[in-house]
Every structure is written in structure tokens, then in C-alpha cells.
């Protein structure tokens, strides 16, 4: 399943499944998007499924950004994304509070 995204300034909106099959594409999109200055915001409201491979891409991007004093925030998250972040306890790292 190809990756679908839209960019609006610092914001990146992803839609569709994020899994092992398109995690590499996700990494590229994130890297490319991080080339612009400032923090990165990612909207995952329209992501019906996300697995640990896609999560690894997000974590990798966050680590890169942190090295230059920036960060990656998830602005909105669908229920499956919240589930994954809750399971791995990474919600706060991405700026999401009060998962569940």
C-alpha cells in the first residue's frame, strides 16, 4: 500500500496504513520533511493501522531532529495509533498526553 501524505508548512498529514511494507517510504518522507527548519508535526488522525516498523521510522526521525535541538510532535492520533503508543509507552515522547 503506497504512502499517502500531504504537507502544509511544518505539518505533515499521513493517511492510510503505516506498516512494514511502506515504513521505508515513511522514513524518506520524514527525512525529506525534516530538511526544513523548525519542529515537525505529524497528523495521524487518518491512519487506520500502524505497526512497530512505522513506529521505528517515527522514532528514528525524532532522534535525528533531537540532535539539532528540534522535535517531532504527533498532533492528532487515530485509535490504533494511540493503542500502539500506549503499548510502547511512547505517547509522551511524541508530545501526546493522556493516552486513554
Amino acid at each position: 500500500m503506497p504512502l499517502t501524505y500531504t504537507r502544509t508548512g511544518p505539518g505533515l498529514t499521513l493517511s492510510g496504513r503505516l506498516d512494514a511494507q511502506n515504513a521505508r517510504d515513511l522514513r524518506e518522507v520524514l527525512t525529506e520533511h525534516a530538511a526544513q527548519p523548525g519542529d515537525l508535526t505529524v497528523n495521524l488522525a487518518d491512519v487506520p493501522f500502524i505497526d512497530s516498523s512505522a513506529l521505528a521510522a517515527l522514532v528514528s526521525a525524532l532522534k535525528d531532529l533531537r540532535r539539532s535541538g528540534r522535535t517531532l510532535r504527533i498532533t492528532q492520533a487515530s485509535a490504533p495509533v494511540r493503542e500502539l503508543l500506549s503499548l510502547t509507552m511512547l505517547g509522551r515522547v511524541f508530545g501526546l498526553e493522556d493516552l486513554r
Partner: protein, 518 residues
């Protein structure tokens, strides 16, 4: 008419009178003999006959026992092979027949089961011998009838006893069992005689099927002991050692042993199987593939029970366990060729769980079953929604996992998200790290949980052995297995026939107690 003639006529008349008396006696004798209820009555008839022919001594021996007054000299005599008159003076007959003028002849006539003797006269006339011969024949018929009536009564009592004992045995090892929740159960229990050595008991989630060596009453007694020990043992977590403890001594003393399969059946399809010396249990998957669960310990009563490996299996809807006793595969045809285990396996694979017993019984028609025959099928309710999905190494097919789950689970099912996530992680793992190219996923709903079996042809790898790392840590690997760990209530792994097989019970994750890292 001369005096001689007179005397002759008188004698003739006397003889005719005697004969007439004899006839009257015989006429009376027949109904009396037919109504005979014991040996005392028979003795009375012999005495009556003796009086009729005017001889004072008479005795009857039946079945080695003398009836009536029997002098010692008579007891010393042996039963004659044919009717015989021992002439006077030929036997020492003791008092009062010791004086020369009182010497007596003895008439001895054999019966089927004894003999009778008359004495006290100097001689026995032909007509008298005939009368006693006829009496002996009648007595034979009467005593035979008496014996048969007694045997019939005894037999009837024994039969009634056996009938009652059979009812007790049947209550102990019932011909019908209650289907455990979530399963279909079919049983055929056919003992070789009134009692069997095969048994089946049920208590709570436990079901035990077994076979005490030998058959008939001795085996049934051990079976009954088993049944009561089982009821208590089923409440213990260690059923088998409790059973062994209760029975080992008795089995050893009576030179018997016992094979059994103990099953603990949970309503969700999870089954613990313990096979102690019993023929292989056949696990038949819904698609007809068979797996054998062989004995992991020798029969009880042979060696002290040390260790029994229990097999944990998950029965998805339509899967079944097939159990059978040696009465099936040891049945022989006319040429002495046994039915065999191979044929049993073939039959199990070819016929569905619904028809296995029926087809086995009809396949046995040309065979002689000499032992107890027990056939039992436990099928996980095929009506429970389940799904099977075949995957390849192509990760583009990952969305099919969620789609398959949604065919058996409602969108709001609490385990859906966790199950999709965990199963996706395991599939990706098997493809990426194990190079799996053929994967099969079977899933069914079990209350708030999902039971899943994933088999893959990748390299042998038990993912449970990998340290999954902790949650909340900022790293790029190890989240996958952490996710599975947190979603799995139970997680089993086995390498079977070059395949990795994982069985999981998945549910909504329990909240973590530790606080997240910043």
C-alpha cells in the same frame, strides 16, 4: 385239580396280585416323581418300593450323599456300573443279617448321579428287579429335572447379580458423556462382556479415557477404584500423580496396569493432553491434517509415575481429538490380520469428526473385536466463527490480516486492535528474520480474547526467547515483540515438522504499572 395245581394257581394269583400292586405303585409313582422337590422325597419313594416288595432295607445315594438309614457296610460298597444282585452271603452285611439263616442279598441299581440299594431278603425276583429298575429310571428323570430346576434358579440369581453389577459399572463409566462447553462429543463404549476394562470419566473440565489391562469383572473392579480416585484427583492441580498415588499399589498387587489419556478442556479451545501409555491420540485439524499425541509415560502400574509431558493444543472450530482403545486396531479379520494403526490414521484423516465413529464401526464389520472397544471424538464446536488465512512472504498482503480478523470479530471487539497488531508483528518477524514464505494463520474468537495459531516455514525461531526491551525507551528495534508480549495472555511456541508454530491467546493489553520515561 391237584394240590400242586392249587399251589401253582395260588402262587400265580399272588404274582398277579403283586404285579397289580406294582402297577398301582408305578401309576402313583409317576406324578409323585414329577413333583419331586428334594432327595428326601426320592428316598421315601425308594422305601415305599421296598415295602411293596417286602424288603426292610433301602437307601439312596445322590451326588455322593447317602439319604435314609445307611449302614456302614453299605457305605463301603461302590456304585455298580449296572443293576446287580449281590447274592446272600457274598457281602458282609452286618447285624441283623449275620446269622446263616438271615443272610441277605443286596439289590444295587445305579442312577445317573448315584445309586440305590435294597436289602433284607434272601433273593430278589425278576419281577422285583424290574420294578426297582423302572423306579430307578423314573428317579433319574425326576432328579435330573430337580437338578435343572435348581441350576436355573442359581443361574437366574447369578444373572440378576451380574445385571445389577453391570448397572453399577455403567454408572461408573457411563455410555454417554456430557459434551464439555464449546465442544461436540461422540462416544461409543462397547465392552467385550457385561463389564469392560475400558473406561471414561468426566469431572469439571477434565475428561479421562483409559484401559485397565484384562477385561471382565477384575478389570471392572479396578475401573471402579479409578473412578473414585479420579473424582478426588480432578480437584488437584496434579491429577496424574494423585491418581498414580491412589492406585499404584493396587495395580501392582493385582498384576494389572492401566493406560489413560487425561484431557483438560477449556471452553476457548485450549486443551491440555496427557498420554500415559495409551495409543496415540489423533489431533485432526479441520482441513484433515493429523498430528499424533503419543504417550509420554509408561502405563500406570508398570513403573512409578515420574514425569508426564503434557501437550498444550489449541482446537480451533472444527478441529477434533480422536481417541480409541486397542479394541479397534487389534481387531483381527478372518485371516488374523489386525485392523492396525495405519488404517486407523487413514480413517481419521479421510472421515470428518462427525463420521469417524460410524465409519470405524462399519469398517470393523469383517473383523472380530475381542476386546473392549471405545471410540471417542471431541470436536471444537464448528459453529464458532473462525478464519484461516494463507500468506506468502509478500508484505503487501499484510492488510489481509486485519480483514480476516474482521470476518470473525466485530469492529468494537476489545481484542481486535491488539490482535491485528500482534499478529502483524509476528508475520513481519517471520518473513523478515526467518525468511518464511508460507504462513498460515487460524483465528477464532473466545469471549473477550482471540485465539490464534500462526505456522510458518521460516528458520526455527522461538520469538519468546528474545528480550523485548522495555516500553518507553527511545530506540528503533524491539517494539514488535514488546507489543506481542503485552497483548498475549498466553504464548506458546513449538517447532513441528519443520514449521514454527505459535499459539496465542490475545486480548486488550493490560495497563503497564511502571511510569513512562520522558
Amino acid at each position: 385239580m391237584t394240590l400242586t395245581d392249587d399251589a401253582a394257581v395260588t402262587e400265580l394269583l399272588e404274582q398277579v396280585a403283586d404285579l397289580s400292586d406294582h402297577l398301582v405303585f408305578l401309576q402313583r409313582l409317576i406324578p409323585q416323581a414329577l413333583a419331586l422337590t428334594d432327595e428326601a422325597q426320592a428316598t421315601a419313594l425308594v422305601r415305599e418300593a421296598a415295602a411293596l416288595i417286602s424288603t426292610p432295607g433301602a437307601a439312596l445315594q445322590v451326588g455322593g450323599v447317602w439319604h435314609g438309614d445307611t449302614p456302614g457296610w453299605l457305605r463301603a460298597l461302590e456304585r455298580p456300573a449296572a443293576p446287580v444282585v449281590l447274592p446272600r452271603g457274598s457281602v458282609h452285611t452286618g447285624a441283623p443279617y449275620t446269622a446263616a439263616w438271615r443272610l441277605t442279598a443286596v439289590l444295587a441299581v445305579p442312577l445317573e448321579d448315584g445309586w440305590l440299594a435294597l436289602w433284607g431278603k434272601r433273593e430278589f425276583m425278576a419281577v422285583e428287579r424290574n420294578l426297582i429298575g423302572t423306579l430307578a429310571q423314573l428317579l433319574d428323570a425326576a432328579l435330573r429335572a430337580l437338578r435343572q430346576r435348581r441350576e436355573a434358579v442359581q443361574y437366574e440369581m447369578q444373572a440378576r447379580d451380574r445385571q445389577r453389577a453391570h448397572a453399577v459399572w455403567r454408572a461408573v463409566t457411563p455410555a454417554q458423556l456430557r459434551p464439555p462447553e464449546g465442544y461436540h462429543l461422540t462416544l461409543r463404549s462397547q465392552p467385550a462382556s457385561d463389564f469392560g476394562g475400558d473406561f471414561q470419566f468426566q469431572e469439571g473440565e477434565w475428561l479421562v479415557v483409559g484401559d485397565v489391562s484384562g477385561k471382565g469383572l477384575p478389570a471392572a473392579i479396578i475401573t471402579a477404584m479409578f473412578a473414585s480416585a479420579f473424582t478426588v484427583a480432578a480437584r488437584s492441580s496434579d491429577l496424574l500423580s494423585k491418581l498414580s498415588e491412589a492406585l499404584y499399589g493396587h495395580l501392582e498387587q493385582s498384576g494389572k496396569f492401566c493406560t489413560l489419556v487425561a484431557l483438560q478442556l477449556r471452553p476457548n479451545g485450549q486443551v491440555r493432553v496427557m498420554n500415559v501409555g495409551h495409543p496415540p491420540v489423533l489431533l485432526r485439524r479441520a482441513d484433515g491434517t493429523l498430528k499424533e499425541i503419543r504417550a509420554s509415560a509408561p502405563p500406570l502400574g508398570t513403573f512409578p509415575l515420574e514425569h508426564v509431558t503434557e501437550e498444550l493444543v489449541v482446537l480451533h472450530p472444527g478441529d477434533a481429538l480422536l481417541l480409541y482403545s486397542d479394541g479397534l486396531f487389534e481387531a483381527e479379520d478372518a485371516r488374523g490380520v489386525p485392523f492396525g494403526l495405519d488404517r486407523t490414521r487413514r480413517l481419521a484423516a479421510e472421515s470428518g469428526p462427525e463420521t469417524f465413529i460410524e465409519r470405524a464401526v462399519s469398517a470393523l464389520t469383517p473383523y472380530t473385536v475381542t476386546d473392549d472397544l471405545t471410540l471417542l471424538v471431541l470436536q471444537r464446536d464448528p459453529a464458532v466463527p473462525s478464519v484461516q488465512l494463507h500468506l506468502t512472504g509478500d508484505l503487501a498482503r499484510l492488510p489481509e490480516i486485519g480483514a480476516a480478523l474482521r470476518t470473525v470479530l466485530a469492529e468494537e471487539h476489545p481484542a481486535l486492535m491488539a490482535a491485528e497488531l500482534a499478529l502483524t508483528e509476528l508475520v513481519v518477524n517471520a518473513v523478515r528474520h526467518g525468511q518464511a514464505r508460507h504462513l498460515t494463520l487460524r483465528v477464532h474468537q473466545a469471549g473477550a480474547e482471540v485465539l490464534a495459531t500462526l505456522t510458518d516455514d521460516g528458520q526455527a525461531f522461538d520469538p519468546r526467547q528474545v528480550a523485548a526491551g522495555t516500553a518507553g525507551e527511545l530506540r528503533e528495534h524491539g517494539y514488535g515483540l514488546l507489543i506481542v508480549q503485552r497483548c498475549a495472555r498466553e504464548w506458546q511456541y513449538a517447532r513441528v515438522n519443520h514449521l514454527n508454530r505459535q499459539t496465542l491467546s490475545l486480548g486488550a493489553p493490560a495497563p503497564l504499572s511502571s511510569s513512562p520515561c520522558p
